[in-house]
Every structure is written in structure tokens, then in C-alpha cells.
């Protein structure tokens, strides 16, 4: 790996000289790979060096793109300095750097690094302005333009395997939990458009013992959207010959009174949650956990984004987010051209939104957000169920559907399955069972 000297920087950013950045050390045993290493801000350099690797590994070396990549690198460096300025509350300096970044970086560049910078700079500008305005107590942007965002989510599902990975590995675990059960109840904590469930219904319908009676409790904040999803799923279940009940709950799980969730004796309950940063899907974290304890499901399927918690320091969060989203941008860039409209749609309507939310100034209650749900579940006595070999097979099958499959990686570890791109894990799927159940037997 080359050391980066000033010559590598694009001559156009002449005034800028890299300053020494503060080193922060932190120990975090939740870091992937298990080792509780001392991580300096070199963790940031790690992302930085990944950027260099990313951009150097790009194919197509004609001059124009080479210049783009060089520019991408120097922009990342300026972005990092800006993040440091924000972390020490030097908004004036940050603003100056953001003016430069937002004028130069293009989200349509051939360089993934530059695209990432364009969106991160914009998110940071939003945060700085929000700090200046004395607001910033709302972490998640109010959800308007819902249709566009959900549409982008669907497009993401088509061009990238991450969502399918979440759905199919979870479905596998749920299927196993429903083995030889004839009354089942699925509780989806954030159903969106219910993209996950048709595939499960299909498998349930073709079980040797025949389909179970299926109840579904769906949570989400728009009652209208829930009803629509319910109509779609009911129609689908009917066509498959599954007897189906749909219960919409127009609340976030953290706002739900447990009495709103009817459970019946003898039914097998599965709770599912796919974490994202598009909007605040969960609400009050500890209340959601309490709801889970009360419901005592046979299986909880959880898919988490691998990012530092929102309650941490800004710089830590920034570096983690930069690493995380750079990886996603890179995975998209590996198969889709820089002018691809679907790629732009996902990057603008979905990823930009997430980045905005992840970098936002937190509000009241952010300290109460769980860093890692897996850790919390352990603390509350839930028992982890290791992902089965079948889940691994499912994951592999999905990857085979995608052209850039050699870049996507599946890792098994600690009973979880992690899907990522190259060395970076992005989504981690895990399965849990309620502490109140005495035994959990899994089909072989």
C-alpha cells in the first residue's frame, strides 16, 4: 500500500494541507472479528485505505477515470477533516470545508469514493445547519415522499442481494421453528410492503403436512399502507390455499401496548425485524424489548446493520458509517455503470436518506437506543439459536443470482450469518428464542 503524499492530491485543491488529526482510542469487544483491539483513529485510516484499495482496484484505467479516482481520494481526506471539525463543535471550520466539498463532489462520478463524499457532505451540511438552527433533536427525518423511498427500497432489492439475504435466511429459520405446527403467528415489527412473506407462504403451502393456519400481526406507522399490504398478502395467501388472518397495528413496536398484540394458546409465534436507517421503525427501544419478553415468541429473526451505535461519539459513528456506506456504494458500482438510473435512485432515495439519519444530531432518548440488539437480547436472557446449514445454503443460493457474486461474502460466526462485500460485513442475521420456553427443538 502506497503512503499518501501530497502529490497524490488533485492539484485543484491547492489550499488544503492535511493537518494532524486527533487520535482517539477505544476498546470495543463487539467489533467484528472478536478481538478487542485498541483502535486508534487509524480505524478511520482503515476506511481511508479501503477507499484507496477500492479506487485502485477499479477496472477501466483510462485517464478520465483515473483523475476521478484521484479526486475521490483527496475528497475523502477533506471529508474526514470536516468530520473532526464537527466532532469538536468547530462548526465554522466545518462549514467552510462543506462549502468546498458540496461544490466539487459529484454523485454521478465514476469514482465511488466521490459519490460517497457527495452524499456524506450533504448529510453533514444538513447536520451543521440543523445545529446552527438550534434544532436537531429529531434524529430521523419525517417520512414524506414515502412512495419514492419504498420504491427505491424495492429497486435496491432487485439490484443487490442484501434484502433477499435478510428475507430468505430469516424465512428459513422461521420455517424450521414452524415445523409440524399447525397454527402460527408471524409478527413483523416493520412490515413495509411485506416483500418478505410471499416466499415463506409459498414454502408453507407446499409443506408435506400441508399449510398451517397463519396469523400475521403487522406493525408500521401508516395505517393506510398497512391495510394495502394486508390486502396484497391476503390475496396471495388465498391463492395458495392458506387460511390467513391479518392484523394491522398502526404503531411502532416501542409504542405498542402489549395488549394490542393478541396471542392465542397453542400458536407458534415468530417475530421478525430487518433493521434499517430509513426512518425510526422501532420507537422506544426498551419498550420493544419488553414487548418481546411478554410475547415470548418461539423464534425471533433479527437482521442488523453493522454500524456503530448512534449513542456513541460522532466521529466514531462517522467513521463506521463511512466504511459501511462506502462498501455498499462500491458493491453497486461493481455491477452498475455511473449513469445507471436505478443505481442513482437507490443512492439518492435510500442511501442518502440513511446517511442523513445516521449522521444526524441525536435527540432526547438517543442514549437509550441499543447499540447492538444481539447484545441486548443476550442481556435479557434470550437464547441464541445458531443459524442452520440450510440458512447458509439459502444465502449462497441468493448470491448465485447476482452477477458480482465474487465480491459478496458470507461469513459464519457466533451462530450468526453475515453478508457483506469483500472484507466488510454489512448485514448480520441471527435467530433467538424466548427465555420462557423450556426447549426449542429444530428440524434436522
Amino acid at each position: 500500500m502506497e503512503s499518501l503524499s501530497n502529490e497524490a492530491f488533485t492539484p485543484s485543491i491547492r489550499e488544503y494541507h492535511p493537518r494532524k488529526l486527533a487520535r482517539t482510542y477505544y476498546n470495543n469487544s463487539d467489533i467484528d472479528g472478536g478481538d478487542a483491539e485498541e483502535l486508534q483513529w487509524i480505524n478511520g485510516t482503515q476506511s481511508y485505505e479501503n477507499m484507496i484499495n477500492m479506487t485502485k482496484n477499479k477496472s477501466g484505467g483510462h485517464d478520465h477515470h483515473h483523475n476521478d479516482h484521484q479526486q475521490g481520494l483527496s475528497l475523502i481526506t477533506l471529508l474526514m477533516e470536516c468530520a473532526v471539525a464537527i466532532s469538536v463543535d468547530n462548526l465554522e471550520e466545518a462549514n467552510k470545508m462543506l462549502l468546498e466539498l458540496t461544490q466539487i463532489a459529484s454523485p454521478y462520478s465514476a469514482s465511488c469514493a466521490e459519490r460517497v463524499v457527495a452524499y456524506f457532505a450533504k448529510a453533514m451540511a444538513r447536520r451543521v445547519m440543523s445545529s446552527c438552527l438550534g434544532g436537531g433533536t429529531i434524529m430521523y427525518s419525517p417520512l414524506l415522499q414515502t412512495k419514492a423511498i419504498l420504491s427505491a427500497f424495492q429497486t435496491f432489492n432487485t439490484i443487490s442481494p442484501f434484502i433477499k439475504f435478510a428475507h430468505f435466511t430469516a424465512n428459513q429459520a422461521i420455517l424450521e421453528a414452524f415445523h409440524q405446527r399447525d397454527r402460527v403467528h408471524i409478527i413483523d415489527l416493520d412490515i413495509m410492503q411485506g416483500l418478505q412473506w410471499p416466499a415463506l407462504f409459498h414454502i408453507l403451502a407446499t409443506r408435506p403436512e400441508g399449510p398451517p393456519h397463519v396469523r400475521m400481526t403487522a406493525m408500521g406507522t401508516s395505517y393506510e399502507a398497512l391495510e394495502e399490504t394486508g390486502r396484497q398478502l391476503s390475496g396471495f395467501a388465498r391463492r395458495l390455499g392458506i387460511s390467513f388472518e391479518f392484523h394491522p397495528v398502526g404503531r411502532k413496536p416501542g409504542d405498542v401496548d402489549p395488549a394490542m398484540v393478541q396471542t392465542r394458546r397453542g400458536e407458534t409465534i415468530a417475530v421478525h425485524w430487518l433493521q434499517h436507517s430509513l426512518y425510526d421503525a422501532i420507537g422506544v427501544n426498551w419498550k420493544t424489548m419488553r414487548l418481546l419478553e411478554i410475547i415470548a415468541p418461539r423464534v425471533i429473526t433479527l437482521v442488523e446493520q453493522e454500524m456503530p451505535p448512534h449513542s456513541g461519539q460522532f466521529l466514531e459513528r462517522f467513521v463506521g458509517a463511512l466504511h459501511y456506506y462506502s462498501t455498499i456504494f462500491d458493491s453497486l458500482g461493481a455491477t452498475l455503470g455511473c449513469e445507471d438510473v436505478n443505481r442513482h435512485k437507490v443512492e439518492h432515495w435510500m442511501l442518502e436518506r440513511e446517511i442523513n439519519n445516521v449522521l444526524a444530531v441525536g435527540g432526547a432518548g438517543e442514549e437509550e437506543m441499543f447499540g447492538s440488539w444481539r447484545t441486548e437480547l443476550v442481556r435479557r436472557g434470550f437464547a441464541q439459536v445458531p443459524m442452520s446449514g440450510n440458512s447458509m445454503t439459502q444465502a449462497q443460493l441468493i448470491l448465485n443470482m447476482f452477477p458480482a457474486m465474487h465480491g459478496y461474502t458470507i461469513q459464519q460466526g457466533d451462530g450468526t450469518l453475515r453478508l457483506g462485500w469483500k472484507e466488510t460485513g454489512l448485514y448480520t442475521a441471527s435467530v433467538w428464542t424466548s427465555p420462557r420456553l423450556m426447549r426449542y427443538s429444530r428440524s434436522d
Binding site: L99, Q103, S109, Y119, L133, I138, L144, A148
Partner: protein
């Protein structure tokens, strides 16, 4: 600039906003004022529902401008906050307009317009190369007649006025990097009579690097050689304001016929210097002066922030929509044009005085007519010229049309986009 002073300003702003909220809300619940802000904001946001109606940006921006002109601090913060949540420079038109106007409004409210503008200009200058600037202009001309309209109309008027002259001197005050002149050179070369000698003096407005003009000059000389047109290329630079220019700067010779070509030039002259500047042009004794300007009025409402904002919003809404429909969604060239517009918006709305060198106080065709009449009288475009423009428009997508100026004192041609006049082209001779 004094950084500590700026930081103090920003902190003061933050503090005063918090104080304001505290005064408004009860002190019992420390989180109450945050929630209150959140609730009223959510209500207002929900009442907008962008997925239903299209034009949420216009409504929000107008409300914000109103709050600024009324100096209603609470409302200003409220609307700026909302715009901040919804805006994006990478989204649809509403999101873009919200983003760039938010920047201008914020600078206006915090009186940081000039500082911000200076930074933006210096960043833009550093990152523009000949290649990138050329790419933007050429792509723009390929997908839209916005600039080529003025070129074709002006060339027609110049050729007509200079017919029969042996020595031509064109003084070009524009920012289209000489993309206008190849067609004119071609026309000169293919005329029946002897090819005249052409001198081209380009006035370089601030922001165009020396290396850019050198490249352009070399290309023009090469092209003229190919066309067989005796050609001389000069650059006038080294001044900070167009209003500083004097007749002597152009080196006009006695035996040449002078044409002055002003494409988007007059609006760059600071308002008080416009009349003297026009008089100075008159002293050059030109055969023709071509004036092309964008159809917007940012001058007569200098003291009324709301009126100025509305006109700015009107014009740039049209411009951004036109850009969105003309370019592909992922066009870097379109992004450059939008960023350029954002600097103009900032300079018009948030800069007192003349915003660091170049002000973009546009005026409408009718206003320019008033200024030019006296020293000059209008020349109408001949039929050939008008036909050329019509032929040009046919090469682009539907939506563009030609509209001759109407009314007793009106002169010139308008380019219209979806029936809105957007660019005005005119020709003048000294009276």
C-alpha cells in the same frame, strides 16, 4: 476573515434560538420545547404531503421569504429547519430548489452571504478547467437552445450590419467561451465577396482563468486558418468589474467596423454603472450592438426581499425544470449548471452591495430597452435571421418557441420554454 468572530456569530444564533424556544415553552419539561417544535413541524410537514401535490418547495420557500422580510425569528428558524429536512441537491426539482434557496436564505438570515459567496467562487475557479467548462457549455448547447438562440440571433444581426465591410472588429463580452464564433467565421468564409479580416477581442469576466482563454484563443486561430479567414485574437482582462472598462481598453482602430456582442454581459455590470457602461459602448461607434439577456427582474425589487425572492424562485423554477427535462438524470453537466445557478441565487438574495465582484442582477428585455434607448435605437432582425433561429429551434425537443417582442416600444426576440419567455435577444445601432 476572523474565524473566531464568525464562530461567535453562529453560537450566538444558536443560543438565541434556544432562548427563544425557552421563552415560548414552559420550563417544567426540559424536553417540551423540542417536542413542541417537532409536533408543530410535523403538522406543517404533513399538511404539505409532497407525494400528493407537486410544488411543495415553492410554498415553503415563499413562507420562509415572508418570515425573513418580516424579521420573524421564530418562523425563520421553523421554515429553515423544514427546508433543511426536505432539501437535496441530488433529487427532484423541488428538492434542488429547496436546497439552493435554503442556502441563500440561511446566509441572508445570518448575514454571511458575502463570505459564503467568496468561498464558493474561489472553489469553483480552482476546480474548473478548460476541459470541464467546455464540456458543460457544449453539452448544454446540445440539449437546449438556451445559449445557442442568442448566438444565432446575434450572428444574424452582426452579419447584416457588417455586410460589405472589409475589416471587422467584434468585441465579445460573454461567458460562452467563443462557441458563438465558428458559425460566424464559416458564414464570413462562404460569402460571395472577399473574405473580410476579422479581429476578435474577448472580454474576460472574472472567474475565467488565463489558461482557459489561451486554449480558446489557440482553437479560434486554428479554426480561422482552416476557414481561410484572416484573424486576430485578443483578450481584455485584468479588471475586477466590467464597469471599469473604458474605450481605450478595446484598442479600436479607425478603419474597422465594430460590433459589440453582449451575451449575458450587461447583467454583470453593477446597477449604478449600467448607464455609463452603455454610453461607453456608444463611444466605440459600433455598427451594431447585440444584447442577449435572460428574462428575469432582480433589480426593481432590490429593497423588497419577498418580491425579489419570488421573482428569483419563478425564474429558477423554470430554469431547473428545463434542465431536468433536457438532460439525463445523472448528468454532471447539469449539476454544474445547477451549482452555477446556486451561486447566482446566493449573490442576488444574500449579498448586499455587489457581492464580491460580479453581481447577477438581471433585468427584463423591456427594462434593457429603456436603458439602451437614447444612446441607441433598435435594429430589427431580418427575415433570414429569424428563419435561422426557427431552424435552430426545430433541432431541439418540443417546448421551445420564438416570440417576437410585442408592444409599441418593445424590440427583439424572445425564446420561450413552455410559453414562458426565458431569453431575450436584440440588436441596436447608435442613434
Amino acid at each position: 476573515m476572523d474565524i473566531t468572530l464568525q464562530a461567535q456569530e453562529l453560537h450566538y444564533l444558536t443560543l438565541s434560538q434556544r432562548q427563544y424556544s425557552h421563552e415560548q415553552e414552559s420550563m417544567q419539561n426540559p424536553n417540551h420545547h423540542h417536542q413542541q417544535h417537532q409536533i408543530t413541524t410535523s403538522q406543517t410537514l404533513e399538511s404539505i404531503d409532497p407525494s400528493a401535490s407537486g410544488k411543495w418547495a415553492e410554498k415553503l420557500l415563499k413562507e420562509c421569504a415572508k418570515a425573513i422580510s418580516e424579521k420573524d425569528s421564530g418562523k425563520i428558524h421553523h421554515f429553515l429547519w423544514m427546508l433543511n429536512e426536505l432539501a437535496s441537491p441530488y433529487g427532484d426539482c423541488d428538492q434542488k430548489l429547496a436546497y439552493y434557496f435554503l442556502q441563500a436564505f440561511f446566509c441572508k438570515a445570518t448575514e454571511s452571504g458575502e463570505r459564503c459567496y467568496k468561498t464558493l467562487i474561489s472553489v469553483a475557479e480552482k476546480s474548473h478547467s478548460f476541459e470541464s467548462a467546455r464540456k458543460v457549455i457544449l453539452k448544454f448547447q446540445e440539449v437546449s437552445p438556451w445559449t445557442t438562440f442568442g448566438h444565432v440571433a446575434s450572428n444574424g444581426a452582426i452579419l447584416e450590419a457588417m455586410d460589405g465591410e472589409a475589416k471587422l472588429h467584434i468585441i465579445d463580452i460573454s461567458s460562452t467561451y467563443c462557441t458563438q464564433w465558428p458559425t460566424l467565421l464559416e458564414a464570413l468564409a462562404t460569402r460571395n465577396d472577399d473574405t473580410p479580416h476579422l479581429r476578435l477581442t474577448v472580454v474576460v469576466t472574472a472567474g475565467t482563468g488565463g489558461s482557459v482563454m489561451k486554449e480558446i484563443g489557440q482553437r479560434m486561430e486554428k479554426f480561422a486558418r482552416l476557414m481561410g479567414v484572416p484573424f486576430e485574437f485578443n483578450v481584455v482582462s485584468g479588471f475586477s468589474r466590467l464597469g471599469e472598462l473604458k474605450e481605450e481598453d478595446f484598442g479600436v482602430r479607425d478603419d474597422e467596423a465594430v460590433a459589440v456582442n453582449c451575451i449575458g454581459a450587461l447583467r454583470k455590470v453593477s446597477v449604478i454603472e449600467r448607464s455609463p457602461f452603455i454610453r461607453m459602448l456608444h463611444h466605440l461607434r459600433p455598427k451594431v450592438v447585440t444584447v442577449v439577456e435572460e428574462e428575469a427582474d432582480f433589480t426593481s425589487n432590490l429593497d423588497e426581499f419577498m418580491a425579489c425572492s419570488e421573482e428569483c424562485l419563478r425564474f429558477y423554477s423554470i430554469f431547473f425544470e428545463m434542465l431536468e427535462e433536457s438532460f439525463v438524470p445523472t448528468s454532471n453537466e447539469r449539476l454544474m449548471l445547477e451549482r452555477e445557478s446556486s451561486r447566482s441565487i446566493l449573490s442576488v438574495l444574500a449579498c448586499e452591495g455587489e457581492g464580491g465582484g460580479e453581481c447577477e442582477r438581471r433585468e427584463k428585455g423591456s427594462q434593457w430597452c429603456e436603458r439602451l434607448t437614447g444612446d441607441f435605437s433598435p435594429m430589427s432582425f431580418n427575415d433570414d435571421g429569424v428563419d435561422d433561429v426557427k431552424a435552430l429551434l426545430r433541432r431541439y425537443r418540443a417546448g421551445w418557441a420564438l416570440l417576437p417582442a410585442q408592444g409599441t416600444d418593445a424590440t427583439g426576440l424572445y425564446l420561450t420554454w413552455k410559453d414562458e419567455p426565458v431569453v431575450w435577444a436584440s440588436a441596436w445601432k447608435p442613434s
